[in-house]
Symmetry: C2
Subunit: 343 residues, 2 copies
C-alpha cells in the first residue's frame, strides 16, 4: 500500500537527515526552535498560563491511505492534535514532529507533505519546534506532539462530566465516516443519489480535520468537560462516561447531520449507525450545565461554530455497562464496541 | 525480526486500548497526567523556568534488536531522551509515550516493557504524563517526548561552540559501539581476549543509556555548548561544528577509553575508528572556555562523572568541509560519514 509514498522518483536523490530537515522542515520552524539547529526546543510559557500537551500517531494503512495526497496527510497529522488542544480549551503554541520514513520515501512526496504541514501550522498558529526523523522498514509513521496554553486552572478535562449536564456536539456527525465509505466503495448503492457537491464535501471531511479552535473561549468559560470526537461519537461519549463515572442518554433525532449524510441515511437507514460510530469527525463533545447552555450555544454561534444539545448525562447506575443509550423513535440502541478501537 | 515482540503468548488475550493503558501505563503516571483519564496532560512550569522539549523515536530492527529484553527497550526509550535533556542543562519533568504496536504484541512483553520504563522513570525522576497507543502492520515503533526544566535563560545549546574553546566529553567513548559488534558477532577474533566482565560491561553499555543528569548544574554554569553523543563522537562533533560555524581538532591520544575498549583496540587497531564513529554512547560533548575548564572538570568530578578535555574548537576555515580533525601519533583522520546517519 505504500507505493504512493515510495514514488518513482525515489531514486532521484538520497538526502541526508540534515539536508532533509534544512530543505523541508526548517521553513516551518518557529520561536524556540532555533532554526532546528539544536537537538531540543524551548518553550517559555506566558505568565499565568499552563501548558497542555498531547501526542497522536498516524500510521500509513491504519490511519490514512498511503496514496492520500501528501499535503492532506501533513495537514491531518497536525490537525488531529490541534483538535485535541481545542477540546481542552488550549491555544496552540507549537509542535514536534517525529517521522519514521520508509527508506525510499521520495523527496517530492516529502515536499508536498511539508507544504501541507506548513499550511496547517499557519492556519492554526502552531509553528514547528523540533523533531526527529528516522528510517523504518515498515509503513510511514507520523507522531506529532502538540503544545497548547491555557490560563492557569482553565484546562477542560474529559473526566469531569456530571449527571444532569447537557451533552453538546459541534458541527455535524458522521461526515468523515461516510467519506471513508465513499473512498472505499465509490459505487456503492447508497451513493447513487449523491451529487458531486455532496461527494466532495464528505471526502473533504474525511481527509481534513477542521479543529474547532474558535470554540476555545466558550469551552473554558462554560463547559464542565470536553473531548474531541475522533474515534466516533458513540465510543468517545462512552469514554467520557467511563472516566467521569456517569451515564448518558442521547436523542438520535437531535443529532446534527449534514445534508449529505441525511441523503445517505435516506438511501440506506443502516448508515445512521455508521455515522454514530465512525471516526474522524474532529468535532467537540462537551458537557454543559443547564444554567450555562444558552450562553454556550450563543458563544458558539458568535464564533461561527454550530453547536447542538443532543442529550443528558445521567447517574451511572441508570445505564448498565456505562454505555450511552441512544434513543430513536421509541427504540433504544447501545453500541457495545461503539468506537473504532485500536486494540 | 519481530518474533520476540510477537511472543507465543500473543493469543492468550487481546486487550482493549483502555485495558492496556490501565494495566501497564497508569502505574507510571505522574502529576498532570490525571491518571491517564484525560486525552491530554498538563504541565505547570515552576516560576522563573522554561521548558526544554525533545522527541526521539526508536524502531525495532533499526534502533534496537526486537529480541532485546523488553525491559531494556523500555529503559532505552526513555533514557535516550533524558540524555538529550541532560545535555541541554535541563532537569526532567515528565514524558509522553507514543507506541505503535504490532497487532499481536503480547501482554507479557508489554508488562516487561512497562517495568523497564517505570524503572527509568523513577531513576530519572521523570513520570509518564500521557501518550497514545496505535496498532501498526510494521515494526514496533516507540516515540518518546520528554519535557525538562531550566532556570530561564540557562538552556545549553548545540550551536554555540566558539573557536578556542575546549572540547570535553564525559565517560568513555565507543563502549556501546563495541557492545553492538559483540552482539552481532560474539565470536569475532577481537573478542578472544575479552573476559566475562568486559563482555558484560560492553553489552550493558550498548543496551542501557546512563544519562548524565548529574552533570546538569555544571553544564548550565560552565559550558558554552553541549549535546549528547548518540550517533557517534565523530558525527555528533561534526554536527556541533556545522551548526556553530566552527571547526574542531581532537587529539585521539586523549580520548577516554574503557579498559575493555583498550583491550579490543590492542587486539584489532581498526576498532579505534569504530569507537570514534559508533553510536549509542549517551555521553555528553561540551564546549568549555579555557577559563572555565578547571571549574567544569572539578564540578564533574564532584558529581561523580568523568570528564576529559580532548581537543579544541578552531575557526571553521582551518578545517575544510567543517569536518573535525582527529590527530593520532602525527597522522590526521577525518570521518566523512562519521556518524551513523539515518538517511
Amino acid at each position: 500500500m505504500a507505493d504512493a509514498v515510495r514514488g518513482d522518483e525515489a531514486a532521484e536523490e538520497r538526502l541526508s537527515e540534515d539536508d532533509l530537515i534544512a530543505r523541508y522542515f526548517r521553513p516551518l520552524a518557529g520561536e524556540g526552535a532555533f532554526g532546528l539547529r539544536d537537538d531540543a526546543a524551548r518553550i517559555t510559557p506566558a505568565e499565568g498560563t499552563e501548558l497542555v500537551v498531547t501526542v497522536d500517531t498516524l500510521v500509513a494503512g491504519v490511519h490514512f491511505f498511503p496514496d492520500d495526497p501528501a499535503g492532506a496527510i501533513g495537514r491531518k497529522a497536525l490537525g488531529v492534535n490541534i483538535s485535541d488542544l481545542a477540546a481542552k480549551g488550549a491555544t496552540p503554541r507549537g509542535f514536534l514532529l517525529s517521522a519514521a520514513l520508509p527508506e525510499d520515501c521520495s523527496p517530492r512526496w516529502l515536499g508536498h507533505f511539508a507544504d501541507g504541514l506548513r499550511d496547517a501550522a499557519e492556519a492554526f498558529g502552531c509553528p514547528l519546534l523540533g523533531g526527529d526523523t528516522v528510517k523504518t522498514p515498515g509503513p510511514l509513521t507520523l507522531s506529532v506532539t502538540a503544545f497548547g496554553e491555557t490560563p492557569t486552572g482553565t484546562m477542560v478535562h474529559r473526566f469531569t462530566a456530571k449527571p444532569g449536564e447537557r451533552i453538546v456536539v459541534t458541527g455535524t456527525i458522521g461526515d468523515a465516516a461516510l467519506g471513508l465509505l465513499l473512498r472505499l466503495a465509490p459505487g456503492a448503492a447508497w451513493t447513487n443519489g449523491l451529487g458531486v457537491e455532496a461527494r466532495v464535501f464528505l471526502t473533504d471531511r474525511y481527509l481534513h480535520p477542521h479543529p474547532r479552535l474558535a470554540l476555545v473561549p466558550a469551552l473554558r468559560r462554560h463547559a464542565s468537560a470536553a473531548m474531541d470526537v475522533s474515534d466516533g461519537l458513540a465510543g468517545d461519549l462512552a469514554k467520557m462516561c467511563r472516566t467521569s463515572g456517569v451515564g448518558a442518554e442521547v436523542d438520535l433525532g437531535l443529532l446534527p447531520l449534514s445534508d449529505a449524510v441525511r441523503a445517505a441515511i435516506a438511501a440506506d437507514p443502516a448508515l445512521l449507525d455508521r455515522a454514530v460510530t465512525g471516526g474522524d469527525d474532529y468535532e467537540i463533545l462537551a458537557a454543559v450545565p443547564d444554567a450555562a447552555l444558552a450562553a454556550f450555544l450563543d458563544a458558539a454561534e458568535r464564533a461561527g461554530v454550530r453547536a447542538t444539545a443532543i442529550g443528558r448525562f445521567v447517574p451511572q447506575h441508570e445505564t448498565p455497562d456505562a454505555l450511552p443509550v441512544f434513543r430513536d423513535d421509541g427504540t433504544e440502541k447501545r453500541y457495545s464496541s461503539g468506537s473504532y478501537s485500536h486494540f
